[in-house]
Symmetry: C2
Subunit: 332 residues, 2 copies
């Protein structure tokens, strides 16, 4: 009986220690969906360098902050940003209460599915659609609306739920960094409350590690119950210069690694890699029209020029999606 | 050899499992600086309730969010807020560059140590002093200024560093909650960048789990180096209605436990305890003039009236500092 008990715990302990060892064993492969090459090698070398106790580039765990853009870096952003697809569907749902939308841009374009007219309406048009469809409710109610939409909406090309169109190599990278005691954050131009309902389930990133754009919120007591209300007013745009500002505000510590895919990530990459000590910047370059999309400049979505041009001089790693990634999306 | 190996791991495993058990053993005392009584009992009963797997009030770990006010809840806020003492010292340090301050309120009062005149200058005066002394530098530089000040400044009554005047019972409570897989956050009216340099060392709370008031920050490239600059403009006041708004913005999940000590925490307590499922609110009532301070209403600092009046009907626990806390500060 006692021996069985001892054996049982020994087996448990062995499993525990072997699992721990496998994670840090440099002969194992923590990134199986990455083809061997400079991109993969640069990631692993950097992580080895900053985690080697006693090494000159050692970074203590509490300073191991890694920030990830979302659209185009962690999940597919083509043919339109997912949140834009959500906003269009919301406009259609709300249209019966707004008969004038039929004759008013950019709503008319959204209702007609007229992508060219939508794009022509520019950022102002997009903002109008988001403001009309994302506010006037509590954050809890908005969360339910997002969850419901994600459970039924399908990507037009892949006919899969949007949350399944995340990049398998990046999922492995997130897990690999966390296994090495990194804290992983999303820093996205997308709406913070559009991401938070699903980032924990999909990426293992809890809501308080998500930084994004936001609308103003008001506190009020309605019929004796305290409530928050989403207002039709922009609070913060977490894009371009907004990214280092958002990181400073929400995280309060400069990352040592940053990952992006567009010029919207340029300032985050600059600010991250300008810090003292070892720093790492990476750009996902969409080069795979067959399995995903191929685009950089010019592009309506995820435009990438300056960050790509300057990557060599700044020492940023560029992922060539077609050649560096063995798989793109998780097996359905 | 094999048997020795098995024994070794069995011993390790046993130590591991016993340690885990001790933390959740209800006959142990996770809060030794709390006297037995209703306050301590209500905390432990609540934690047992939400962590009991299979229980009707079970809350999964990722939803175990606990928010703490800082001034007067985690550390001493008398005779003036610590950040105010810091700001006054900063004004004195900067005064040679601002000769007009000698004849200009509220700076004159700060330079003369005239507390009455300072208080008379009101929130506007305080804001002016903070704006004059906390901005025009990078967050990194501000962090260094805060660290330097904290290493030399001493509390006028206790003659101890301010960061040693944290409440021992609350340190135990923070650790106890974290041992029960809670995430602990600070939600304070104080400046976010005044707290972040030391909360990890003192409370075990990393910078990205600190919510506070902030100034606007600008991103710019100076001589080819990207920098953030603190501007003399308020960005967010994390007090009163600002607390639930700040929680929603930074944490994105409604807490199940909230801890405060003043009417500045009223809305946080209301919003937290109005959520579905088990909720817990607690007020630290400063009743101990001998070991610390006794104050509630009226008070220049940490005024407490409405939250205390409504505590019984709202089911909030009130800590009577004099009777509920065996010790106040950690042994120096």
């Amino acid at each position: 009986m006692l021996l069985a008990f001892v054996r049982h715990f020994a087996a448990l302990a062995a499993v525990f220690f072997l699992a721990a060892a496998a994670r840090s064993d440099s002969t194992g492969d923590p990134l199986p969906s990455w083809n061997d090459g400079r991109a993969k090698q640069s990631i692993i070398e950097f992580v080895d360098r900053v985690t080697q106790a006693g090494g000159t580039d050692y970074v203590p765990p509490h300073e191991r902050i890694a920030t990830f853009d979302n659209d185009g870096t962690l999940w597919c952003e083509q043919p339109i940003y997912t949140q834009f697809a959500f906003a269009i569907d919301r406009v259609k749902e709300l249209a019966p209460q707004h008969p004038n939308w039929k004759h008013q841009q950019p709503f008319q374009a959204a209702l007609d599915g007229d992508k060219a007219a939508l794009i022509a309406s520019g950022e102002r048009g997009l903002a109008q659609i988001v403001m009309a469809s994302h506010v006037g409710m509590t954050p809890d109610d908005f969360e339910q609306i997002v969850r419901r939409w994600l459970s039924t909406a399908r990507h037009p090309r892949y006919n899969r739920p949007y949350t399944s169109l995340v990049y398998q190599p990046m999922l492995e990278l997130l897990a690999y960094l966390r296994d090495n005691q990194f804290k992983t954050f999303i820093v996205s131009g997308g709406g913070i409350e559009f991401m938070r309902p699903w980032t924990e389930r999909v990426y293992g990133i809890p809501p308080y590690q998500v930084v994004g754009s936001s609308v103003k919120v008001h506190y009020e007591v309605v019929d004796g119950a305290p409530e928050l209300m989403r207002l039709p007013e922009v609070d913060f745009i977490d894009d371009k210069q907004g990214k280092p500002i958002g990181i400073n505000r929400f995280i309060g510590r400069r990352p040592i690694m940053a990952f992006g895919n567009s010029d919207g990530d340029y300032e985050m990459l600059r600010w991250t890699t300008a810090g003292d000590g070892p720093r790492f910047g990476l750009i996902v370059h969409h080069t795979d029209a067959e399995r995903e999309y191929a685009y950089d400049y010019p592009s309506d979505v995820g435009q990438l020029k300056r960050a790509l041009d300057e990557a060599p001089e700044r020492g940023w790693t560029v992922v060539d999606m077609k050649h560096d990634w063995r798989t793109i999306f998780p097996v359905p």
